[in-house]
């Protein structure tokens, strides 16, 4: 299976007495949108944290593009091309929208201190490239006119889109979105829906999505993975999931 971008096997995460993630498994293929759904507290964010290296999983493996990620520190995992957003938005709030995107491109920047110190033409060209890429993505997410505003002053929906743009300027292979539609109004959600599909079709990134908005999830997902109490409950296409009796029970049982 060569087109498996991300493979997660037997992933478990224990916090003291709580087994927050229990033997989870999931795969994401190239150019695929995979959604991770489940009731509140099911362990979705914890799975994200384990995959992206913010938590060291108690056991299990995370293979990205054929390479083991589960022993690497978080920032190295991000450099491999797997970047994430956060459920409770983490922007550099006192910095402008543009600067948020410049920082994200740190690894692509000209970091030679002497070149920067003397402001060489090579350095300026590199910085302009970063700004251009930032401008391009701001345009894509509809924030171009806000480029020079402090990101703290953006509306909630704009902040969410900025966070996605900030991931995209790093030119990732896999984009991991933790509840990107939370707090958005229906119009913004529809725009987000469109954006995610575009990212897949035009940029060729794969998307791993945590989302509670079932309309969004059912509409765009190629695969859905259902988690319940930390464990894998079911996976399949949206249609299969919709008709899966276990899933229905888990969701209705919660109410």
């Amino acid at each position: 299976m060569s087109n498996n971008l991300l493979v997660v096997r037997d992933l478990s995460m224990r916090f003291g007495g709580l087994l927050a993630v229990d033997q989870m498994a999931l795969t994401v293929d190239e150019r695929q949108i995979v959604s991770l759904i489940g009731p509140n507290g099911a362990g979705k964010t914890t799975v994200f944290n384990c995959i992206s290296g913010f938590y060291r999983p108690t056991s299990g493996e995370v293979i990205f593009q054929g390479k083991a990620m589960h022993r690497l520190p978080d920032y190295k995992i991000a450099r491999h091309g797997m970047v994430r957003t956060f459920q409770n938005i983490r922007l550099f709030r006192e910095m402008t929208v543009l600067e948020n995107l410049l920082i994200a491109q740190h690894m692509q920047a000209e970091r030679n201190l002497l070149k920067g110190m003397f402001n060489t033409s090579g350095y300026r060209k590199k910085e302009d490239e970063l700004a251009d890429r930032a401008a391009y993505w701001l345009e894509r997410v509809g924030l171009l006119e806000h480029a020079n505003r402090e990101s703290a002053y953006l509306s909630y929906g704009q902040q969410r889109r900025l966070e996605i743009a900030r991931c995209m300027v790093t030119q990732p292979r896999l984009l991991m979105l933790d509840e990107p539609a939370a707090g958005l109004n229906p119009r913004e959600t529809a725009e987000l829906d469109e954006l995610i599909v575009e990212l897949k079709d035009q940029q060729g990134v794969a998307v791993l999505l945590i989302e509670h908005d079932m309309k969004l999830v059912m509409g765009i997902s190629d695969q859905i993975v259902v988690v319940n109490q930390g464990a894998h409950l079911a996976s399949g296409t949206p249609d299969e999931i919709r008709n899966n009796p276990d899933v229905i029970k888990a969701y209705l049982g919660e109410e």
Binding site: V83, R93, T96, I103, H106, G116, M117, R133, A135, Y136
Partner: protein, 428 residues
């Protein structure tokens, strides 16, 4: 009247502290120590002070609020706005600063030189505390490393100031790097405590490595910087000779002082330029990003380890430069010059200036060094004044004199159209 109780206790506390500090004095009578009660005037003043505290505390709600509005941003008057105008002002200030020693007295030049040293220290620490947000209480350690580097390089290897200066900066940077490692995982209070310890360890080491550093006796006879090999003293036995002989003017000891001042000014200008560039470079952006949100930094592939280490290392190097200049100026250094209080003063300069702001640091350094010098008569109350200043500042402007206005990189909207269409055609 909830205030009555607090007012009463505040007044009582004032009285208690006042009486114990000022009302009673230890005096040695022969070989014995006796307690001397101050004269009645002092007690009248103390009573008055207590009454004042009582009154202020009682009516604290009705007093006008001292605090400046934190939301209100400092705006430059119109004449300071615009890049060109700012450049002109800067040029004017530089010219004035260059002229200053020729129209001033020796004492003032000396004080100005001291201020400049602290400006350099403040700017360096500002990288660590103001930009990267790492509370470093041991910064004086790197100052000491710089000073001792020059002193020792001179003593054992005969290095001149100019040869030792880059090495002193490098040594301080190396110490910053090495000491940065163990504290990487710490943050906030823990970081502050450990760096405080490091500063003290460096001082104690200098104190106790008696063979190498001369211990508490310090190192003397450190030569002043030369002017392209020419010395600024009355006569020399070797080397290139003296400046006044070379250029054929009569010797004056003030020349040396002026030269040191100009040198310090040059170093400060250099520091300002370098840090100004840093702030606009990827490295400076990453420092500020780390201060704002280290988790977001990690999620974007920035290694917090390297960001912190770079801040520690580069910040320390400026202390190293300042230290070697300090050693050259004093001609004598001992571990006493590098006590914790120095770290506290430098940190106070950064906080007072408004974390991260370069101009703020300069103003604060002037205030912090100049005020005690002006108030020499009150020398015994120096620390008291220092404390008072801090309290007033924290009440009046907790954000500092000139809170940092970030030099924001702006998106040039004229380039935008071409940029976005250009990239779009690349994609697919």
């Amino acid at each position: 009247m909830a205030n009555i109780k607090s007012a009463f206790f505040s007044a009582l506390l004032t009285l208690f502290l006042g009486v114990s500090v000022m009302g009673l004095q230890l005096e040695s009578a022969g070989i014995k120590l006796g307690v001397q009660v101050a004269d009645s005037h002092t007690f009248w003043y103390l009573g008055l002070a207590a009454l004042l505290v009582f009154g202020v505390q009682l009516f604290r709600d009705k007093l006008p609020r001292l605090r400046s509005d934190p939301e209100k941003r400092f705006e430059w008057p119109e004449v300071f706005k615009g890049e060109q105008r700012q450049r002109m002002w800067m040029a004017l200030v530089i010219i004035l600063m260059l002229m200053f020693p020729f129209v001033s007295s020796r004492g003032w030049i000396d004080i100005a030189t001291l201020v400049l040293i602290y400006v350099m220290l403040g700017l360096g620490l500002n990288i660590v505390v103001g930009l990267a947000g790492l509370l470093d209480l041991g910064y004086v350690g790197f100052y000491a490393v710089g000073a001792y580097s020059y002193a020792l390089l001179h003593q054992y290897l005969g290095f001149s100031f100019w040869e030792a200066l880059p090495l002193a900066g490098g040594m301080a940077a190396l110490f910053g790097f090495l000491l940065g490692f163990p504290v990487l995982r710490l943050r906030g209070d823990y970081l502050a405590i450990v760096t405080l310890g490091f500063g003290e360890i460096i001082r104690l080491m200098l104190n106790n490595l008696t063979e190498l550093t001369g211990g508490p006796n310090g190192i003397g006879g450190i030569p002043k910087p030369t002017f392209f090999g020419l010395e600024l003293s009355r006569r020399v036995d070797e080397g290139w000779g003296t400046l006044h002989e070379f250029f054929g003017f009569s010797y004056s000891p003030v020349h040396k002082v002026i030269y040191l001042y100009l040198l310090a000014f040059l170093l400060v200008l250099l520091t300002l330029y370098v840090i100004r560039r840093f702030i606009r470079m990827p490295i400076g952006r990453s420092w500020e990003a780390l201060r704002e949100d280290d988790i977001a930094c990690r999620s974007l592939g920035l290694s917090p380890t390297w960001v912190k280490l770079s801040a520690f290392t580069l910040g320390a190097s400026f202390a190293g430069f300042a230290g070697s200049f300090f050693a050259a100026r004093q001609g004598f250094i001992s571990p006493n010059s590098f006590a914790f209080i120095e770290s506290a003063i430098i940190l106070a300069i950064v906080v007072l200036g408004g974390m991260g702001s370069q101009l703020g640091v300069i103003l604060a350094a002037i205030a912090m060094i100049l005020l005690p010098e002006l108030a020499r008569e009150f020398n015994e109350y120096r620390m008291l004044l220092f404390g008072l200043m801090m309290v007033v500042m924290m009440v009046w402007r907790p954000q500092g004199l000139l809170p940092m206005k970030r030099p924001q990189r702006r998106l040039d909207t004229t380039r935008l159209a071409s940029a976005s269409t250009g990239e779009a055609s690349n994609v697919k």
